[in-house]
């Protein structure tokens, strides 16, 4: 096969060839970046949250009646709710908490050891630590694993109105930030005395995994109006059964409540990434359309080529080229165009990646992915050229005599 002759023949059709190459390059660039987006989103959704997400139910609710402005009444109803929920079959544990893990914001505060308040200027993540107001059941509901000290107990609940912080549980990464490898038990922070350290759970997915700072205090009964979320740990596989009962259970305790959300922690995580996923899906849809358009182009390119080259191919056939030779010739020509397109596509993929990262966060393209996408494009292109190539090889040698 004479590459030089092929190139020359392509150059004769520089406009259409150029268009096709550009098209291929753009398609490849978009395809690579869309796959990156989709993979990134997949990675985010598959992250280890440290929570048994499938079997943890979140119930968010709010009282609708003015009676709840009497906090003692509020507390008594909530206590009854918790009791009623705990008695449902297949419920392992129920707790009350002011905010949910896997959220961007919420109730945040700065946390430092009383001996070293300046530390928050050295680690800015210490300025926005998630402060959880909860009760002693949370460790069971979220299945915390204890690294040192003990979990919160009923006795850790400070007396109402004393304005004291009481005892707190902190996450492992917060302990490391404040005390390094030393023990944190008994240390005094501005949020209370540390009695236990638990393994990290994912509190805010938008910050690094080793900055998941959280403080848990047994204080939600005092600030009862912040306790909008019941967390329910369900026996594995029974989530749907329990989900169908919680609404009635709560409303039968007292009906004047708006239960605005009942979903599993797994759904909560999915919702957190809903827009990332949506964007990836939009990009993939665009890729599908683009592949479709490019396939049409490839087909039209070869088809057009045949109609113009009938004469020459006829001559070639007359001079002894076999059908297979012609088929190979057309396909090689196409592969050449595709190779150039892919090379240009590499540059396009990289520059498009840089351009997109001005707006959204996405990983860098890697060679492996690029080669894979190129192969897909090659195969698609070959399929699209096959019919015109077949037709070309069927041009009889006799054409040569007719068209001189």
């Amino acid at each position: 096969m004479n590459i030089k002759a092929l190139l020359k023949s392509l150059f004769l059709r520089k406009f259409t060839t150029g268009l096709l190459i550009l098209q291929l390059a753009i398609t490849l660039g978009l395809l690579v970046n869309s796959v990156i987006l989709a993979l990134d989103t997949g990675d985010k959704l598959a992250q280890d949250t440290g929570i048994d997400a499938e079997n943890t139910l979140i119930i968010s609710l709010q009282p609708t009646s003015g009676d709840y402005r009497d906090l003692d009444y509020f507390r008594s109803i909530v206590s009854q709710d918790l009791e009623a929920l705990a008695q449902l079959p297949d419920v392992e544990s129920v707790s009350l908490v002011n905010q949910l893990p896997i959220t961007r914001r919420g109730m945040l505060g700065n946390v430092y050891d009383l001996d070293d308040p300046d530390i928050i200027n050295r680690d800015k993540y210490l300025q926005d630590v998630k402060i959880f107001l909860t009760n002693e059941e949370l460790s069971n509901t979220l299945a915390f694993s204890l690294l040192e000290g003990r979990f919160l107990t009923k006795d850790d609940q400070p007396e109402f109105g004393t304005n004291q912080n009481g005892n707190v549980l902190i996450t492992e990464s917060l302990k490391k930030a404040l005390y390094g490898d030393k023990s944190a038990i008994g240390q005094e922070t501005n949020n209370g005395r540390i009695v236990g350290v638990v393994k990290d759970i994912m509190l805010n997915p938008t910050i690094p995994a080793d900055k998941q700072y959280g403080v848990f205090g047994n204080r939600v009964m005092e600030w009862i109006f912040t306790g909008r979320n019941y967390l329910v740990k369900v026996r594995p596989g029974q989530v749907n059964k329990v989900r169908n009962q919680v609404r009635d259970t709560i409303l039968s305790v007292q009906a004047e409540r708006d239960i605005y959300r009942v979903r599993t922690m797994a759904d909560h995580l999915k919702r957190f990434y809903r827009h990332d996923k949506g964007l990836a899906q939009l990009f993939l849809m665009l890729c599908g359309l683009m592949l479709f358009v490019t396939a049409i182009s490839s087909y039209a390119y070869s088809q057009f080529h045949i109609s113009r080259q009938k004469k020459y191919i006829g001559i070639r056939r007359a001079l002894g080229a076999s059908k297979k030779d012609i088929l190979l010739y057309v396909l090689t020509e196409n592969w050449l165009v595709y190779s150039i397109g892919c090379l240009l596509g590499l540059a396009m993929a990289i520059s498009f990646n840089i351009l997109l990262s001005q707006y959204i966060s996405l990983s860098k393209p890697d060679m492996m992915l690029f080669s894979l996408v190129s192969i897909v494009l090659f195969v698609a292109g070959t399929v699209a050229t096959w019919i015109p190539a077949q037709k070309t090889s069927n041009i009889p040698p006799v054409i040569a005599t007719r068209t001189v």
Binding site: L19, R274, M290, S297, I360
Partner: protein, 432 residues
């Protein structure tokens, strides 16, 4: 008259040409209209996000940010939320024409005359009365309340529909979290897109509020804060916040003359300086005034994801144009015998060009019609994938026009090179 008949002749020829290569033209129209449709749907989203919600006075409405935080510890940057006493200092200034100080809350509402115990979840704006004039809230019935204290409220159109079936409900009483408040005004349907007076905390595409209540009353009743708040003091309820360092109020001012902006700025700076002299302002003084459009930019209202996708759809459209161009080239090539024949019997080069252009304009019109339909469809798909944008997915008339225009441009652009080539065929060669 001759021109007219020439035009109809050209159109006739174009139609014949379309008929002769149906599937080819179908592919061209399909690819171009998909490209234009996708881009148009995206531009519709960008347009809604980036538009000026109150163009007649957006330059004269200023949002106030201050940094009166009492500790040296961060936040060091000016905050968009203010303490009660800072906000009141702004409200008492006579430099602005109007001032609005507010916070977002939420209550459950029920008509006390209703036999049903159902209560409606309502978004609340607890505000000073200046808000209505400042934001140009349109009244259907009644008027605004005129004091910051009093058991009076204004309700939005949607809530009025839900509770009173859209009837004039002025004078009726609502039970809100156990308190009785009287309706003094009902708004018309009110669309503010983006919600310029509260674009932070991801609320830029929220609907306008259901209930507008006097600020002091809401604070007294302890209606909780439903947006960002920051505090260096502990507090049990909003009713305790007036004298504490609790930051949750937003302040907007309307100036009758933008030249007064510097007077307002020095008013704020003087106030901060007084605090500093008294030892209550440890940070450097940084008070900021943003007008509506500046504030929307500051709040990063335009969704970056949509911008990224718009970029991709521009690339996609260019691919569609390339595709249409090579398809047209092959079409013109196939028709070159006809071109040669017509040239031979006297059609001028210019005439052939006109005929080709007529064909591509016609192509553009067909493409435009389909593209507009497709863009509606793609807008629906986008909202399916990005549900947060549901409130802003509107195809305004100007976007339909833009879609048609884009379709025309792309159709002509794709035909340019093929036309140029077609006109270079020599008559004799084609007729041989």
């Amino acid at each position: 008259m001759r021109n007219n008949s020439l035009l109809s002749y050209n159109i006739l020829l174009a139609m014949q040409s379309f008929k002769r290569a149906k599937s080819l033209y179908f592919l061209i129209i399909l690819t171009l209209s998909i490209g234009v449709g996708v881009l148009c749907a995206n531009l519709a989203l960008v347009n809604s996000m980036a538009s000026d919600p109150i163009p007649e006075k957006s330059a004269n409405l200023l949002h106030v940010s201050m940094n009166t935080w009492p500790d040296v510890q961060p936040p060091d940057e000016p905050m968009h939320i203010l303490r009660y006493r800072d906000a009141m200092k702004i409200a008492e200034s006579d430099i602005p024409l109007r001032t609005a100080v507010f916070y977002a809350s939420g209550v459950y509402a029920r008509d006390i005359e209703s036999t049903s115990m159902k209560r409606f979840d309502s978004r609340v704006r607890a505000t000073t009365p200046g808000f209505f004039g400042l934001a140009d809230a349109p009244f259907a019935f009644g008027t605004a309340f005129d004091k910051s204290r009093g058991m009076e409220i204004v309700i939005g159109h949607e809530l009025n529909q839900k509770i009173f079936a859209g009837k004039n409900s002025v004078g009726k009483t609502l039970e809100l979290d156990g308190e009785l408040l009287t309706i003094v005004g009902v708004l018309k349907p009110w669309i503010v897109r983006p919600l310029f007076y509260h674009p932070t905390e991801g609320r830029a595409f929220d609907l306008t509020d259901d209930i507008f209540a006097p600020l002091e009353t809401a604070i007294d009743l302890g209606w909780s804060i439903h947006a960002r708040s920051s505090s260096s003091d502990n507090y049990a309820g909003v009713n305790e916040t007036r004298d504490l360092n609790v930051y949750y109020l937003q302040a907007w001012v309307e100036l009758d003359d933008i030249a007064k902006k510097s007077a307002l700025q020095s008013y704020l700076d003087n106030y901060s300086q007084q605090l500093k002299d008294a030892g209550g302002h440890p940070l450097a003084i940084k008070n900021r005034l943003h007008n509506v459009n500046e504030w929307l930019i500051e709040a990063k209202v335009v969704d970056q994801k949509v911008l990224a996708f718009t970029l991709a759809s521009i690339l996609f459209l260019s691919v569609c144009i390339f595709n249409a161009s090579s398809l047209l080239l092959s079409r013109f090539h196939a028709a070159k015998f006809e071109v040669g024949l017509r040239r031979a019997i006297g059609a001028s080069n210019k005439h052939m060009m006109m005929q080709g252009l007529t064909e591509s304009v016609l192509l553009g019109v067909f493409t435009g019609v389909i593209a507009v339909i497709l863009s509606w469809f793609f807008l629906k798909i986008s909202v399916q994938f990005l549900p947060r944008l549901a409130n802003i997915a509107v195809l305004e008339p100007k976007l339909l026009v833009l879609g048609m225009f884009l379709a025309l441009i792309t159709a002509i652009a794709s035909a340019l090179y093929p036309l140029y080539r077609a006109n270079r065929y020599t008559i004799s060669a084609e007729l041989k």
